[in-house]
């Protein structure tokens, strides 16, 4: 049996969906916690200070193929045109270092008709020349973010290649230093960049990652990203998780709209609480899968396995209770919440895609075939049509016999799209 608890404070709704019944001796509690911010909550009278930073790859490789750089410039201008009046913004050229493009002194200026036009002129005059060191780009945005404490700072990062002019350690260090300072959406244009590299940035900085195979599609994508950013009005929400003494938090994962493991982001908050930063929010809903191992109690006993509180600053905005009840009735304890099962499958799907593609790259055909075939099964079963469609580009599964075969000729862009979008999940309806 599933239980749904809903508590709504200031229009943040926290739903808990799980089977609260446990068999005697069992102690693993799985719950899907849905957090929804209503449009009234998102529409605040006084919008928070916003800072937008766009980093355009200006490495020499942007010159080819012909027209790619023009599209990158057009996309940058399209994004700038979506910035609301009064929001601060800045544009930088990314090479082996980050060079301010607009304003020239690198200090963000407020968006207006005049500044947007001036920015477009500055972008138009850009010439690609140099290498790629994305860590320095992040450091540049971080310095800006620190000049605007409390602001909603968001960056768009565009690259066409891999991070060449610094070590992976340097990049990793810059990512770590930037966590919690700003959010970053990453885009790779063409197929010469590394999905893993951009995912490391976007994942840590609570943003999105995607491939834009055709440069002509950049402008629409950039405009959409900027509109989404303008829709965020709550600078930072935190998930606070209380668990009983003796309990262990096995994991905390965002599972919709994408899979993102937050377990290691826990900051101990005392009083048996840990806090997980959720980043900025607009009017939206995200689902989290929480697994807690509690000490089993006798049949008939009830325990609070977790208390989930959504916090902004010091203010608690919503709360959900994850209860556990022990029973000798196996008909009750054997049930699995439909949503827990679904999202467990979605997380496995993302992992199977990534593992399968990695094996394929390493020439391990057997592992790649097994993983990708499993991924296909999961994608089809769960109605994740987006991923299923992308999977068909790399693996053929005979529907009758179930025999799977890797495709020999796979377009690099298809493979990278599958990789970049592997964490996108299909939602499942809440049980009423």
């Amino acid at each position: 049996m599933s239980s749904i608890e809903e508590q709504s404070v200031s229009s943040i709704a926290v739903d808990v969906d799980h089977n609260p019944y446990l068999a005697e001796g069992a102690g693993t509690v799985d719950a899907i916690v849905s957090i929804a911010v209503g449009s009234e909550m998102a529409a605040t009278d006084e919008p928070p200070e916003r800072v937008e930073a766009i980093i355009v790859d200006c490495s020499t490789s942007m010159l080819s193929p012909h027209g790619k750089f023009d599209e990158a410039k057009r996309a940058t201008t399209a994004a700038v045109n979506e910035i609301a009046d009064g929001a601060y913004f800045t544009i930088a050229a990314g090479t082996d270092k980050a060079v301010p493009v607009y304003p020239a002194d690198g200090r963000p200026t407020q968006a207006s008709e005049a500044t947007r036009a001036a920015a477009a002129r500055a972008v138009d005059g850009l010439q690609p020349k140099g290498g790629t060191a994305m860590g320095t780009w992040l450091a540049h945005v971080r310095r800006i973010a620190r000049q605007h404490p409390g602001a909603l700072t968001h960056a768009i990062l565009l690259t066409d290649g891999k991070d060449e002019h610094e070590t992976p350690e340097q990049l990793g260090e810059e990512i770590g230093l930037s966590e919690g300072e700003f959010t970053c959406d990453c885009r790779g244009v063409g197929t010469d960049w590394h999905v893993e590299e951009l995912r490391a940035i976007s994942s840590a900085l609570l943003g999105t990652v995607d491939i834009v195979a055709d440069p002509a599609d950049l402008a629409d994508d950039f405009a959409a990203m900027m509109r989404a950013s303008m829709g965020k009005s709550i600078p930072d929400l935190t998930l606070r998780l209380w668990t009983p003494a003796g309990a262990r938090v096995a994991f905390v994962k965002q599972v919709a709209p994408t899979v993102e493991d937050l377990t290691h982001r826990r900051v101990d908050a005392g009083n048996q609480c840990g806090e997980y930063p959720l980043g900025p929010w607009g009017a939206e809903e995200r689902d989290y899968h929480i697994q807690v191992a509690v000490e089993p109690a006798a049949a008939g006993r009830e325990k609070l396995a977790a208390r989930v509180t959504v916090v902004a600053g010091d203010e608690s905005l919503g709360e959900g209770l994850v209860k556990a009840m022990w029973t000798t009735d196996t008909a009750l304890s054997a049930r699995i919440s439909r949503r827990v099962a679904h999202y467990t499958g979605q997380a496995e799907l993302a992992q199977a895609v990534q593992d399968g593609l990695a094996a394929r790259k390493n020439g391990d055909v057997a592992t790649a075939t097994a993983k990708l075939r499993r991924a296909m099964e999961l994608a089809v079963e769960s109605g994740n049509d987006g991923t299923a469609k992308l999977l068909r580009g790399v693996i053929e599964v005979d529907e009758r016999t179930g025999t799977a075969r890797l495709r020999r000729d796979v377009a690099a862009a298809d493979e990278m799209a599958l990789d970049a979008r592997s964490t996108r999940t299909a939602r499942v309806r809440k049980e009423a």
Partner: protein
């Protein structure tokens, strides 16, 4: 249902407590009061004691702030109303009390002595989910329906049937939202009304579904007797001529053939499930769940506890006996003094 806000049982209009008749519809007014146990931990008086599991003394939403255990309900709850004593005890073996009981009185207008009594005792079927919700809902709904009927001067038999109908609905509704009807909450139900007649006698009417019982224990030398017939496999075998001490009967002692809620039939009782006796004797009416009669099956055994003592002392002694004898099930009892009261 306190005496503070009084509404007409016929038309629902608010009435002045001192009035004898409703200004709105002209019906005779009577005051109705009802109690129910076991009460929720948070409804009970007194500060929360330390957590039984970890000793911590703070709770949020009834959960211990350290170990997370839900604040335990007290093992026993007792309430008295108009001389009636209700006790429900968790027993020793079960982790949770899934029994419930409710009792109410219809008083004459302007604070006259009780005019009629309605009591129900329910035992949640522990193989169903959240059985206590069915027991609680059925006992309260049954007593409320009986009180409404009695306040409207309907016959006791009709009141008991109305109680059965509402209790059945309430038990079924307690399972709303359950995914699987086969594990929806279900319970037994035993109800009684006590109404005086114009001839100076008392009319006792009982109705039951399941194996909770009503015993009539008049002052000697009148014989003590069980007024209800269990809906159990054991009873069916005995009715069919199988000896009561046979193995088959013993094995079927706790297998119910009828119940309320869950996947029960729409009306799991028959006309013969309701029975009336009229008596001029004083004595005690004892209603109980099988947590008591498992240890004291014979009416005479129970009668011994009630002779020469008041209802509260008798009820306590009976529950204590069941616990000393093993307390393998929840124990719930209602003791209704008859004769001296009405």
């Amino acid at each position: 249902m306190t005496g503070e806000e009084v509404t007409c049982m016929q038309c629902g209009a608010t009435v002045v407590p001192a009035d004898r008749f409703c200004e709105s519809c002209g019906a005779a007014l009577s005051e109705v009061r009802r109690v129910a146990i076991p009460r929720a931990a948070e409804a009970l008086d007194g500060p929360a004691g330390p957590c039984a599991d970890c000793g911590n003394g703070a709770y949020v939403d009834e959960y211990c702030t350290v170990c997370g255990h839900r604040r335990a309900k007290p093992d026993r709850d007792q309430m008295n109303i108009g001389g009636i004593v209700l006790i429900s005890d968790r027993g020793l073996e079960h982790a949770r009390n899934e029994d419930a009981a409710a009792a109410g009185i219809v008083a004459g207008a302007a604070g006259e002595r009780p005019y009629a009594i309605a009591v129900a005792v329910c035992d949640g079927v522990s193989t169903s989910a959240a059985a206590h919700t069915a027991a609680m809902a059925a006992s309260m709904a049954g007593v409320d329906a009986m009180l409404r009927a009695l306040a409207a001067s309907r016959k006791a038999r009709s009141a008991v049937l109305a109680g059965l109908a509402d209790a059945a609905k309430a038990a079924a509704a307690a399972g709303t939202g359950s995914v699987d009807p086969s594990i929806a909450p279900s319970c037994t139900y035993a109800a009684a009304t006590v109404v005086p007649t114009s001839a100076g006698t008392v009319q006792i009417t009982v109705g039951n579904v399941g194996d909770s019982r009503v015993y009539w224990l008049p002052e000697p030398p009148a014989p003590a007797q069980c007024l209800t017939v269990d809906d159990s496999v054991a009873q069916e075998l005995i009715s069919g001529g199988v000896p009561a001490d046979s193995e088959a009967v013993q094995a079927g002692a706790h297998t119910l053939t009828r119940w309320l809620g869950g996947d029960a039939e729409p009306t799991p009782w028959s006309e013969s499930s309701v029975r009336t006796i009229t008596t001029a004797d004083g004595g005690s009416l004892v209603m109980c769940t099988d947590g008591l009669w498992n240890y004291l099956p014979e009416a005479d055994d129970i009668a011994r506890f009630c002779a020469g003592t008041d209802a509260a002392a008798a009820a306590c002694a009976l529950v204590d006996y069941a616990l000393r004898a093993g307390g393998q099930d929840n124990v719930t009892i209602a003791v209704i003094p008859v004769g001296g009261l009405l």
